[in-house]
Structures are given as C-alpha cells and as structure tokens.
Amino acid sequence: MDTHESTSKGFSPEKFNRTIAVLIAVVTLITAIIAYLQSDAAARDDRANRDTKRYSIEAFGRKVSGDARVNYDYNTAYQNWYELDLLADSARNRGDDEAAARYEALRDNTVQLSPLLQPPYFDAAAGGEPDIARYEADTYIVEITELRENFTAASVVKDAWDNKANTYIVHITLMAVSLFLFGLSTTISGQQTRWIFAGVGSVIAMVAVIWAVVLYVQPVNDLRDTGAIRSYAQAEGLAHQEKWEEAIELYDQAIAAAPDYANAYLGRADAVGSLGDIEAAVTDFEAAISRGDKSASTAGNLAWNYYLLGRFDDAIRLNQIALQSAPDELWIRYDLGLAQLASGDVDAARATYDLGMQSAARQVADAKAAGSEPPSYLWWGLDDAALQLDNLMQTLDGADGAPSAEQIAQPDAVYEAAAELFTRIKNQSVSLEYTGEPSTGEISAVITPLKFAEPVYDDQGEVQAYNEGEAFDFGANEISILFDYEGMQDGQNVLFKVYIDGEEDPSWRLIAPWELGKTGSAEKSLSLSYSDNFVLSPGDYVVEMYINEHLAQRGGFVINPEG
C-alpha cells in the first residue's frame, strides 16, 4: 500500500502526457520519413514496371520488323540472285552464251536490291551463300537480345522495389499502431496500464525504425546500369554467327561488369562447349545455376556435358532434377536414359526410354485430340535420342567419341540394349508422325543391306551399269540405292529418309506405296538429275528404309569434298 502511494506521488500525469506528446510527434515525423521512402520505392517500382512493358513491346515489334526485312533480303533478293545465277550456269552448260550473259547481267543488277547481297555479307564474285547469320545479328538479333535482357533486368528491379515499397507499408502500419498505443496511454486512468501502452508503443516504433533502416540500406542492383547487357547482346550476336572466340571475349566482358549475370555464364558455356572445352562449359553451366538459373534447359545441358565427361552419376542426378520441372521434355528424358545406359544400368535405361516413348505418344495423342499438331521439338527429341544412341554404338565400335569407350560400363550389354532402343525409337518416331499411334508389331519382310551406286547411262539414257561404292567424288549428281527384298506386299507403306551429317533433310524423303511385288531386286534414286546444275553436296549420307513404319534397313555413303 505504501509502495503504491509513493509511486503515485512520484508520477505526474501532466509530465507523462507531455512526454507522450513529444513521442507522438517524433513517431509522426519518422512515419513521414518512411512514407517518403515508401513513395520513392513505389515510384521506382512503377518506373521499372513500365520499363518491362516497354521493352517487351519494343522487342516484339523489332522482331517482327526484322523478320520481315530479312525474309525479303534472303527469300526474295538472294533467291532472285541465286535463281539467276543458276539460270546463267544452265544456259552456259547448254552452250547458250547469249542467254547466259543476259542472266548474268540480271543477276548482277539484283545485288543493289539488298544490303545482304553486298559486302560484308556477300561476295557476289565468289558466289556461295550470303552470311545470313551476320546479317540477322546486325539487323535485329543484337537489338532484340538487348531489349529482352533489359526486360528481365527491369523485372528484377521492379520486384526489388515492389518488395521495398510493400515492406515500408508494413513499417508505416506498425508506426500507426505505435501512435495508437501512445494516444491510448494518455487517456487511460490506470498508471501501470499507461506505462505498458507507452512501453509497447515505443518497442513497436523502435522495431519498425530499425527494420526500415535495414531495408533502406539494402541496395537494389540494376543490371542495366552495368553495361553488361550490351556486351552480352553483342556476344549473342556473335554466337549466332558461330564466332565462338569473339563471343567468349564479350561474354567475359559482360561477366566482368556483372559477376552475377547468369545468362552470360550460360552463353559462355555454350560457346566454350562449341569449341570442345567441355570442362569449361561445365564450370560455366554450374556458375549459371548457382546464380539463379533454375531452368530445366540449363540443368539438362549441364547434365549432357557431365555425360560427355563420363560423369554419369552427376548426369543422372541433374537430368532427374530437370525432369522434375519439365517432365515432358523428351531430350532430357532420353539424355537421362542414355546416361543410365552408359553407366551400365541397362534396366533403368530401358525403363526411362519406355517412359520417353510413352510421353511422346501421349503428347501426340493430346495434340490430335485438341485438334492441333505436336511441336517440332518432339520430333527433334526422338531424332536426337536415336542419334545419341547411334553415336554411343559407334564409340563402342571403336570410333572416337565422348564419353570414351573405356568409360562405358558393361559395353556388350550396353551395345545390345542401345541397338534395340535405337530401332524402337526410330519406329516410334515414324509411326507417330504418319499414323499418330505408337509403333506396334513387327515386319516380316527381309531387306538386304543397302548398297549405293552411281548409275552409268548409255546414249539413249538407259542405265547400263552401277558403279557401287561407299564414297563418291564431288560432282556426283545421282546415287542409286540398291537392295534385294523378300516377303514384301504391294501397297505397304514404304518410306526412305535421308540424313546428311546426322541431320535429316526432309526434302529428300521418298514416300510411296510398294509396287514391286513380293520378292526381287530394287533400285531407288537419290537425284535431281534432270537439272543441268545439281550435284549432291559433300557429307556423310545415311539412308533409312521403313516398311509400314518399321525400320527395315539402314546404310550410308559419303560424298567427298570438292577438290
């Protein structure tokens, strides 16, 4: 009781209220300061938000404009030049020099129609193809890459300032609570309660102030201010032209300007990988991931480079991570299967390839059900899967390759499984493409190994003989595919696919129902021999023959380089 009285005597409500009034005024001032910071952060947020939209709109417009321009330059202007050049050659080959001169004059006039037909993109005297990659890079690729990167950078800035602005609002709210408690403390009669309210109000205000200071000193880094984006965009333009060394220099500059620029590491990883430095590519892919690139594509590419280095466990782990976010990416699924296969886990590989084929079938069925078409990457994924299995088998056969044959566990079992999976993927791909259904059943027909030959004609244009071979000199304008067959039925679907240097050239596809009876010998021609100019371009050719969407036979030949 005594204690209470003495305390009451020492307490002056008037003095307490005056102190609280000052506190209220101070908190109000601090609230005004935080409101100013909030307003500033919100303004920066708005500006960055606007910039994202602007960059996006501009990138879209420049892409359409650039495409329209390049389409004209290549598909009209250069096509004209090329046609007239061919016509001039044809006329000269026929001995019609007057017409040849006419076409040459016309061809030369065409040069003025487009910058693409002029230096540095094209040497009209030397002929050949214009440097379309350089032209595209100069016309719009560098520009839209810069705009897209600016868009991404502005989005990051927008998020950061948005977060700051919203957090300042929390601080202002806390200050309001504090003000409320201060106000309440001056109206309540209980002395203890007054102090509690004033104390809690003060603590809340202190917390808000400290929090606001911590938030204020946190920097918002804007990649647009570093100059890194410009270097990166130029590097991308050079990478588009496959000028890897020059591109790497610019990626280096971008990284020096912004050491956390994930896309620059990613670009440099592709560039150094293209130059064959897989170790460096792995380092850069890892750097990109550690700097925030969580895309399945990057994880898949890193996994692929691990695979090339023979680090199969790492490849499997990364592919599995990538598939968690992109389970329908066939190339990642098949890369996982390939790594499992190379590591000697044949059963796991088979299961993964099965899942991949089921996924492909499901995607095709879904697209058909929706009245649309499956994306081209689906066919590319299937082709790539077969190509990598083929490469693995070639490595086991003794060819140079990455990973090396020594790194592959249980090579015999792996080879056997790879051969079987290769055929199944080929069948699945053709079946899905032509029937929309997964491959089923087997074929009973037997096709002998394909032979390749240059036909020899007599004066009447009749074939007199075939000069068989595995390699032909540059200048060959017709190659015949020769084979014997048994068990065929007229009307069966027969398809020939031609791959040049590992990539299918769909313009060579031969598709027709079988009309040559049950048994016999056949010849199919790869030729545009009615042309005065056509010759097969140099490269490794692989021909595949399918019967009712099943791979029946496969073989290859080489066209030697000119000279």
């Binding site: 939209k53 602007r54 404009s65 009209t76 016309l106």
Partner: protein
C-alpha cells in the same frame, strides 16, 4: 503575476493547438496533391505505353507491307530488265525463226513485268527505275503519326518528371513533420517555448514553401 503567467501559457497552448491543426491540414493537402500527381504520372505512363504499342505496330506493319511491295518490285524489275536485255539480243538473232523465238521471250518477260507492276505503289519508283523503299517506309510512318501518337519518349519523360514531383512532395511533408515535433515540444519545455514556436513555424513555412515551389515546378 501568476495570473499573467497562467494567461500567457493558456494563450500559448491555444496557439500551438491551432498551429498543429493548421500544419496537419496543410500536410493533408500536400498529401492529396502528391497523390494526384502520382496518379497523373501513371496516366502519362499509360499514354507512353500506348504510344509504344502504336509505334511498334506501325513499324511492324510498315515493314511487312513495305517489303511485300518491294518483293513485287523485285519481280517487276527482274522481268523488266530481262525483257530489255532480250530486246538488245534480238538484233543478233541468227534466223527469222530464232528472232521470233527471242521476240516471244521478250514479250513474255515484259508481260510478267507488267503483271507485277500493279502489285506495288509505282509512285515510289525513282527516275532510274530503282525503288525508294526508305521513302515509302518514311511516308507510311508519317501518315500513321498524323493519326496516333508514335512518340512514347515524351510521355515517359513526363511520367518520370511527375513521379519525381510526387516524391518531392512527400519530402515537404517530412519538413512539416519537423514543425509538429517542435510544436509538441512547446508543451514539454519549461522555458524557450517561444523559440520552439518560432522554429516550428519556420519549419512549417519551409515545408509549405517547398511544396508550393515543387507544385510550380521551380524545384
């Protein structure tokens, strides 16, 4: 004497209360202006983005249409030049039959040139028979610019300026906040009350002046 002191303190208390109320109202007014200016900056941003969309739409359409015309011109030029070159060769035809064949080729080429001539605006043909594509693209851009705003930069600059203005307004409110602190101290201090009132008033004047100057665009 005590009575005078009490009267004086009562007057000061009333004065401070009135000043606090006035400053609070002024702060509210400035906040309203800051908010209105912020809103205007948002509108300017919107106008700028609309102009950016219009500009890119115009650029894309102009390029697509312009190069389509240029393609037709390219075909025209090819056949026109071919016809002219064949005509030059007619004089050296070896026989009458050959001359007739050459003449047929010339006529075909010129007919194809004429067919393509109607597929592009001939007014952009130069005297040397070349095509003024850049003039066409420039003219198309100017035509579009008469109908819609194609210059987003000016709007974006305006938005940035307004946004900066709004933020500065918040700064002036901060200065007004200082005057509130000083006025509040009047009640807490035993002495120097007049000094606090004077300082508070100076801060209030500074805050208001700052807001007015910002509003007038002087700061």
């Amino acid at each position: 004497m005590e009575q005078e002191t009490a009267n004086s303190e009562g007057f000061l208390g009333t004065l401070v209360a009135i000043l606090i109320a006035v400053v609070t109202v002024l702060a509210a007014l400035i906040t309203w202006r800051a908010s209105a200016i912020e809103d205007a900056s948002g509108d300017a941003d919107y106008d700028g983005l609309r102009a950016a969309v219009s500009a890119e739409e115009t650029r894309a359409l102009n390029n697509v249409n312009g190069y389509e015309d240029y393609s037709a011109y390219t075909a025209f030029k090819r056949y026109s030049d071919l016809g002219d070159l064949i005509a030059e060769d007619q004089v050296s035809a070896a026989s009458e039959e050959a001359a007739m064949l050459v003449e047929a080729e010339r006529a075909n080429a010129h007919d194809l040139a004429i067919a393509n001539q109607f597929l592009f605006p001939n007014k952009f043909l130069n005297r040397d028979n070349s095509y003024a594509l850049q003039r066409q693209l420039g003219e198309m851009w100017s035509d579009a610019a008469r109908e819609k705003d194609l210059m987003p930069e000016a709007k974006f600059a305006e938005a940035d300026s307004l946004r900066s203005k709004s933020t500065k307004m918040m700064l002036s409110i901060m200065v007004l906040g200082i005057s509130l602190v000083l006025y509040s101290l009047v009640e807490s201090l035993e002495k120097q009350k007049n000094i606090m009132i004077a300082l508070g008033s100076i801060a209030a004047m500074a805050g208001v002046s700052m807001a007015v100057l910002i509003e007038l665009g002087k700061i």
